[in-house]
């Protein structure tokens, strides 16, 4: 991703961009889910969406279904997009809460197109059609095979002049005074020199940690899961346009539908079960035949103390890791790339700018961290030691303040720079069962009749758009069916 982005924006005429990669080192990716900002990234690269989908066996994603997180037998949906329409400067949910208090019977999810489409198994790209009636647009992201995405971007990058060198890093040469990285020596006896190094070496952090010893903040006391076992299986049933996360005894299991198979994984804490037990549990909970050997990995949830240290920027797993509960991994990479491009140095490294980059990245990570912790903290489950732990654990002040505010008025007071907006916080906090005392007083300003009329029009528009949509499978079949697709 970094190579692709740099080659497209910085350009290989002005810069020499070299990517060092080893095919000997396995990659983490199974099936991945993403969030809507990925389309912005793809647009910067100038990718054709249908081609991208075909190349990566992708399907569409409208949100995440959280099963058994609040309690056994319960599920809720965290969609993309918005609930209803904000009116007169007040968020829609306040109007809905007022109407609910007055006896309204329709759930708030009925005012969100993405939730309705997910439940009905439908999908359509809507923003390229004329829309005289102002029907809501459908917000979406993708599920895809990350390794196919990588190879697709590799072809893209190399076509634009990125030089790829195969090899494993043996030694890193630093300037004795400044400590800046000057060159890396590979096992193939290649010596790659550079002014600026991007460390995408994963958990090991070969440059940022093993060389520069930047240090890591461990967050496992807030997010205790530290292992995952992943396996693809045969597709079964309807092709769902959403990710499913099912809470399990000691963690949670993901289900990511692709065009040719389904990706599954059990994310867990090894203090409670071991690898074999986790693998066995996962294999009994697939909805199709396993198509490969399960792969295991371990991680420490947390973040590098500085993502940018001297002349090295860690991007991706080398900069930190948060479990894929809200599909944020790829996003955090793309955000880092975007920020780096914004702050790209001209001819020297400015400590103030570097600190700014690091602060921004920390804010991004902290924000996601808080959001993920909320899923665990606000559970009603207490059936295993794992759930009892997360239910009772202390949480960051930033999150407890947010929850307090939310309880009083159903709003999370999201800042503009945050990744997860009001609808996301509402979906998860209300979904997890946090009770809200009351709504914004200004939502009382309009009359009962006007309120009902507006709600009716919003609902009409959601239904109207929904009725115009084909099924998820039909849409893919017509627009972007991949070669390996199992959609008939």
């Amino acid at each position: 991703m970094a190579a692709a982005a740099f080659s497209k924006t910085l350009g290989c005429q002005n810069y020499s961009i070299t990517l060092v990669e080893s095919e000997q080192i396995g990659t983490v990716g199974v099936g991945e889910a993403t969030i809507p900002p990925i389309s912005l990234f793809n647009n910067v690269l100038g990718l054709d969406e249908n081609e991208f989908i075909r190349e990566t066996n992708a399907t569409f994603k409208l949100g995440i279904e959280f099963v058994n997180w609040r309690k056994q037998g319960h599920s809720y949906f965290h969609p993309f997009g918005h609930y209803g329409v904000d009116m007169d400067g007040i968020g829609f949910m306040h109007y809905w809460m007022r109407w609910k208090q007055d006896g309204g019977a329709l759930d708030y999810t009925k005012f969100n197109l993405e939730t309705m489409a997910a439940q009905a198994g439908k999908f359509k790209r809507t923003s390229n059609e004329p829309n005289p009636l102002g029907l809501p647009n459908l917000n979406y992201a993708f599920h895809f095979d990350a390794s196919l995405y990588a190879s697709y971007l590799r072809r893209f990058s190399e076509a634009r002049g990125v030089k790829r060198i195969e090899g494993k890093i043996e030694q890193v040469i630093q300037d004795p005074d400044s400590g800046h990285i000057q060159a890396i020596k590979l096992d193939s006896d290649n010596n790659v020199q550079g002014d600026f190094f991007i460390d995408c070496s994963g958990f090991k952090g070969l440059l940022i940690e093993q060389t520069l010893q930047t240090g890591y903040s461990d967050w496992s006391h807030w997010l205790p899961v530290n292992s995952a076992v992943a396996v693809p299986c045969e597709s079964a049933g309807e092709l769902l346009p959403y990710t499913r996360s099912t809470a399990q005894e000691f963690g949670w299991q993901w289900r990511i539908p692709l065009q040719h198979r389904t990706g599954n994984g059990y994310v867990y804490c090894d203090k409670f079960i071991n690898q074999d037990q986790a693998e066995r549990a996962l294999l009994t909970r697939l909805d199709g035949k396993a198509l490969a050997q399960p792969r295991h990995l371990t991680f420490v949830t947390g973040m590098r103390n500085r993502c940018w240290n001297k002349n090295c920027v860690a991007i991706g797993l080398s900069s930190g890791f948060l479990e894929p509960l809200e599909s944020t991994s790829i996003h955090l990479i793309q955000i880092a790339i975007a920020k780096l491009l914004t702050m790209f140095p001209r001819d020297h490294f400015n400590e103030v700018l570097i600190n700014r980059f690091n602060q921004d990245m920390k804010a991004e990570y902290d924000n996601v961290k808080d959001f993920l912790i909320a899923h665990y903290k606000i559970t009603e489950r207490d059936d295993t030691e794992f759930w009892r732990y997360v239910k009772n654990m202390p949480i960051p002040d930033s999150l407890s303040d947010r929850l307090e505010i939310f309880k009083t008025r159903g709003e999370a007071m999201v800042k503009q720079t945050e990744l997860f907006k009001e609808p996301s916080w509402y979906a998860v906090l209300a979904g997890q069962g946090l009770t809200i005392e009351n709504y914004h007083p200004m939502a009382d300003a309009i009359s009962d009749d006007e309120l009902r009329l507006r709600l009716t029009k919003i609902r009409t528009n959601v239904q109207s758009r929904l009725n115009s949509m084909p099924s998820h499978a039909d849409f893919i079949r017509q627009q972007c069916k991949s070669e390996m697709s199992k959609i008939d």
Partner: protein, 517 residues
């Protein structure tokens, strides 16, 4: 048979039930009846008397209910007037009654192979320079325009597209689209009963044992448990048995079966329809017709037929096959279409189905009860010793009743189902004079002759006639003031206007979800 074309000689002074003559004031009213007829009457009267200075005691002797969970009412938009008269909050009442909005009725297969038509509760088009739109449409159709008349009715288009009509400045200038309701009879009656009791109606459940008559009046009634009730004025809301008024009448029934051939109604249920349609569906078939009426929690069905030509079992099977619906809980009721010639005799007035028995066609259920109660309010007797109001009441009720009857007869008479015994006879039978005249006039000039006691207006009769393929031979020559080009432009503007407005309107489904659930 009354002469409803005779204009009223007396003017009726609207009174708020204040008593002017104190000799023999009405002190007590006894309503004997059951179900909606009885409770609506009780509520209306009690509500009316509350504002009166004279204390009038209203007692409802409630006979055992005949309602089943399958029963339902399909009512006209004018029923809203009754609701406001009883102080009902519309949405709350609809919710309690599992009610649903209805913007019209769609008739299929009545007139042979021609297309179904919607009788919507709205007028057509807009009158250009004061000339009825229908005249322009006749000219345009004669010149080859193929657009059906109902496309020019905002109400009909809304009904077809299952939209809930919301007015703005633009639509108010030409449309009067209104909606009626489908209501669950049992739930509706319960809600009305609760309201009646809440404002103090005296409620005596019981069975009628005897009725004492003296000098052409009811002097007292006795119940099965021995209670005797003496009232100054009696209202018979007991249904077709007419338990009170039958004791005062002689040869008082007008039968209508030569015009309205059905004598059985089967009522049943089917699963809810989703999305909710904006109309009731009225489909004719060989042995009769079937009506489909969406409610909030189920779909109500009625099948109307004659025992001379079929059986309940047979029509049920036929209708299940025709509609594809899963029909359950069927019950059958016999009925005989007709009315009492005099509904008010002595000190007793019959209201609702004890006064008139009609087919459930055209959403006229409860309507004549409503008309009767309205008339009763303005003609309420103030002298227990003598009630000259009765003659005026009877005359006006007769007018309303016959006009509604004629509207139903028109559907049957204009059928084109040749070779089917149920349908053949009513096509050729001699019609009531007024109806005959209406059809003739419409055929020749496209005008509807209305008298003063009409429920159905110009646009309702026009909708019916045009839907049943009655052709108007000549149009108003004033229409020629406009050139063909001008007319085409006006028509296109209208159609475009309707289309734009309809698109902006909320769906019926969403309206019900937000307001009624």
């Amino acid at each position: 048979m009354c002469q409803h074309t005779k204009p009223l000689l007396l003017t009726i002074v609207q009174r708020s039930c204040e008593v002017y003559f104190l000799n023999n004031p009405i002190k007590k009213v006894a309503i004997v009846g059951r179900d909606a007829d009885a409770w609506l009457t009780a509520l209306m009267l009690q509500q009316g008397f509350r504002s009166s200075s004279q204390m009038i005691d209203v007692e409802l002797i409630e006979l055992p209910s005949h309602l089943t969970p399958q029963d339902f009412f399909s009512v006209l938009p004018s029923h809203k007037i009754l609701h406001s008269a009883i102080g009902a909050r519309e949405n709350l009442l609809l919710r309690a009654a599992k009610g649903c909005y209805c913007f019209g009725q769609r008739f299929s297969n009545w007139s042979g192979g021609s297309a179904p038509f919607i009788h919507a509760y709205d007028r057509f088009g807009a009158d250009f320079e004061g000339i009825d739109f229908y005249q322009f449409w006749v000219k345009a159709s004669a010149s080859g325009m193929k657009v059906p008349l109902e496309e020019f009715s905002l109400g009909a288009v809304a009904a077809k597209q299952a939209k809930y009509v919301v007015f703005d400045e633009a639509t108010e200038t030409f449309s009067q689209a209104a909606h009626g309701y489908h209501l669950s009879a049992l739930d509706y009656t319960k809600a009305i009963a609760q309201a009646a009791l809440a404002i103090g109606v005296k409620h005596t459940p019981g069975e009628l044992a005897g009725v004492k008559v003296q000098n052409g009046n009811i002097s007292s009634i006795s119940l099965a448990d021995g209670t005797e009730i003496n009232a100054d004025f009696y209202i018979d809301a007991s249904g077709s048995e007419a338990l009170l008024i039958k004791n005062l009448e002689v040869d008082n029934i007008d039968g209508w079966s030569k015009w309205l051939p059905a004598n059985r109604i089967v009522i049943a249920s089917a699963p809810s329809l989703e999305p909710l349609p904006g109309f009731s569906q009225i489909s004719a078939f060989k042995e009769g017709w079937v009506g489909i009426y969406p409610l909030l929690d189920r779909t109500a069905i009625n099948i109307v037929y004659s025992s001379e030509y079929s059986t309940a079992k047979a029509v049920l099977e036929k209708v299940a096959a025709l509609t594809g619906l899963q029909i359950t809980n069927a019950t059958e009721i016999p009925f005989a279409p007709g009315a009492r010639k005099k509904q008010w005799i002595g000190n007793c007035v019959a209201v609702g189905s004890s006064a008139v028995s009609l087919e459930p066609l055209d959403a006229t259920q409860l309507h004549l009860l409503h008309v009767g109660l309205s008339l009763l309010r303005s003609l309420f007797p103030n002298d227990a010793a003598g009630m000259p109001e009765a003659d005026i009441y009877n005359q006006k009720m007769c007018g309303f009743v016959e006009n509604v009857r004629d509207y139903q007869i028109a559907h049957y008479h204009l059928n084109k189902r040749f070779g089917e015994p149920f349908w053949d006879a009513v096509r050729t039978v001699e019609l009531p004079a007024a109806l005959r005249e209406k059809i003739k006039l419409f055929e020749s000039r496209g005008i509807v002759a209305l008298d003063e006691d009409e429920t159905f207006k110009q646009e309702d009769w026009t909708s019916l006639f045009v839907g049943h393929n009655v052709h108007t031979q000549s149009f108003d020559p004033l229409v020629n003031k406009f050139s063909d080009e001008e007319l085409i432009i006006k028509f296109q503007q209208l159609l475009g206007h309707i289309k734009t407005e309809i698109e902006k309107m909320p769906s019926l489904q969403a309206q019900v979800e937000i307001t009624l659930l």
